[in-house]
């Protein structure tokens, strides 16, 4: 089976004020189709850089990144990409924001309106079509972002701390809704997060990175049953990897 994402011996550095900054050093990672993988590690360790390589927003200095068997050599338009930043266009209403990807792909207007409405139904935002992003709460904006990302039927989702800016209660609700949506669509996900509970609750697999330059420290499979005891053990393991004291 061809992996959805194949990252092979990738190295990436950035030009900084005090010389080059090595973000990733010899990182290899495969993600199977439909797999939900969380990437965790210390702040600024290069996890986001890895997502950007898969998205084709940056290129590795060495090594190879392939998506569904094809080398990534420019913006990877087959992925859906979401960051902590909503990145909604503030001058467009909700419907036109959700339909944006279809507009860029020149889908005729009646079809894109219909599909955008359908996506808004899917994320429980029917009735908010004419609202501007500034008139919505943080959680609602996140759902608009999700609808906009899913509308062009991406092969995979790349998420960089997508729920980081939300309050705890909203975050839990959105996580649950998100998990249901993704499972329903059978979508693969690469999720960068600092939230260990989020990683344990959502993923099939958790990859733990070291501090910069990022190397893979551990690769944890989450048992399918997700018993509270399992999740607690996994959280404790991640906590230890990240240098926390044992609890």
């Amino acid at each position: 089976m061809i992996p959805a994402v194949a990252i092979d011996s990738v190295r990436k550095s950035f030009a900084g004020a005090g010389g080059d900054l090595l973000a990733l050093d010899d990182v290899s990672l495969d993600v199977a189709p439909g797999e939900f993988v969380s990437l965790i590690g210390p702040s600024g360790c290069g996890k986001s850089t890895l997502l950007n390589l898969v998205a084709g927003l940056a290129r590795p200095d060495r090594g190879r990144v392939a998506f569904a068997g094809d080398a990534v050599s420019g913006p990877n338009t087959r992925v859906g990409y979401m960051t902590q930043d909503d990145a909604l266009l503030p001058w467009r209403n909700v419907l036109d924001n959700v339909a944006l990807a279809l507009e860029i792909r020149r889908v005729p207007r009646p079809e894109r309106i219909e599909r955008a409405r359908e996506m808004l139904r899917l994320v429980n935002l029917s009735g908010f079509e004419r609202h501007l992003p500034s008139q919505l709460s943080g959680g609602m904006r996140k759902r608009v972002g999700l609808a906009r990302t899913l509308i062009h039927r991406p092969g995979m989702l790349l998420l960089d701390e997508p729920f980081g800016a939300l309050d705890a209660q909203t975050r839990t609700l959105i996580q649950r809704e998100f998990k249901r949506l993704v499972a329903g669509l059978g979508l693969g996900v690469m999720l960068v997060t600092h939230d260990l509970r989020e990683a344990a609750a959502l993923s099939d697999r958790i990859v733990v990175f070291s501090a910069r330059p990022a190397r893979i420290v551990d690769d944890i499979a989450v048992p399918a049953g997700r018993s509270p005891a399992d999740l607690e053990a996994i959280e404790r393991l991640m906590w230890r990897h990240l240098g926390g004291d044992d609890v």
Binding site: T77, L100, R105
Partner: protein, 273 residues
């Protein structure tokens, strides 16, 4: 043609009342500066010919009489319309070219790196030094003045829009890039709308500067327009004529600024942060 006498009739009946009401309300709102202007004019009028030589500073009544003469013999309208046309033509060119150039340099980094120093050097030059070149290329006349209005207006539009385009959130650009948008698409769907408040500011300043450029161009390289009228009076040693042209210019720029302020206030994009 049949409607013309009717509308003229209507204007005769209603216009004076409307104008009168507007005038009264304006005086009510703005009486302190009006009062000051009247006092200064009275002092000027009294001092002219007694405290100083009227040949150099003229007097308000003589200036008003000059403007009146120009208005009646058509001189005023000919030069006023030339200045307006020059300003608007220069401004229109500056707006279109300025926005396009700002989008181009703001979207394509390689181009930006090559051209930026040239743009900054051209900007730092006083535009008046280009007047001899404009005359050489376009001859003495309206085209040279339009060229000057365009050059001075262009940089105002360009630099404002450019800084707005560069301030666009990279997250928005990345988002549409991953949706498959090319550079032109990104420029039109993200960069330009996001920079709209800067565009409004650029157009505002661009119009004012194009007006200044038009006057400078008319003074140095044209044979019509209010700038030309002013220089022409000066070359005749006619202080009264110079001051009369100045007064017309002052009123024109006041009206221009007022209209602009109204247009900006109505512009919906100005509210988008």
């Amino acid at each position: 043609m049949t409607s013309q006498p009717l509308s003229a009739d209507l204007a005769d009946t209603y216009a004076p009342a409307v104008v009168q009401a507007a005038l009264i309300s304006w005086v009510r709102r703005r009486w302190p500066p009006i009062a000051l202007a009247l006092v200064l004019a009275a002092i000027w009028q009294g001092a002219s010919g007694t405290l100083f030589n009227a040949y150099y500073l003229s007097r308000p009544t003589a200036i008003a009489a000059q403007v009146w003469v120009w208005a009646v013999d058509g001189t005023l309208w000919r030069h006023l319309s030339a200045t307006l046309v020059t300003t608007l033509a220069g401004f229109a060119g500056a707006a279109v070219v300025g926005i396009a150039a700002a989008l181009l340099l703001g979207s394509i980094r390689a181009l930006d790196r090559v051209l930026q120093p040239f743009v900054f050097v051209a900007y730092s030059l006083p535009k008046i030094v280009l007047a001899p070149l404009l005359i050489l290329w376009l001859g003495i006349g309206s085209w040279s003045a339009i060229g000057m209005a365009f050059l001075t207006g262009f940089f105002m539009v360009f630099f404002n829009v450019y800084s707005g385009v560069r301030a666009v959130s990279p997250a928005l650009v990345d988002t549409v890039t991953l949706m498959g948008a090319g550079r032109l698409r990104t420029a039109l769907t993200v960069r330009l709308p996001a920079a709209l408040p800067f565009v409004a500011l650029g157009l505002h300043q661009g119009l004012v500067y194009a007006f200044h450029g038009a006057i400078v161009g008319e003074m140095t390289a044209s044979n019509r327009g209010l700038g030309y009228l002013l220089v022409y009076a000066a070359s005749d040693m006619d202080a009264n004529g110079v001051l009369a042209a100045l007064c017309v210019l002052a009123v024109l720029s006041l009206i221009l600024l007022r209209l602009l302020a109204l247009a900006i206030a109505r512009q919906p994009g100005a509210r988008v942060a």
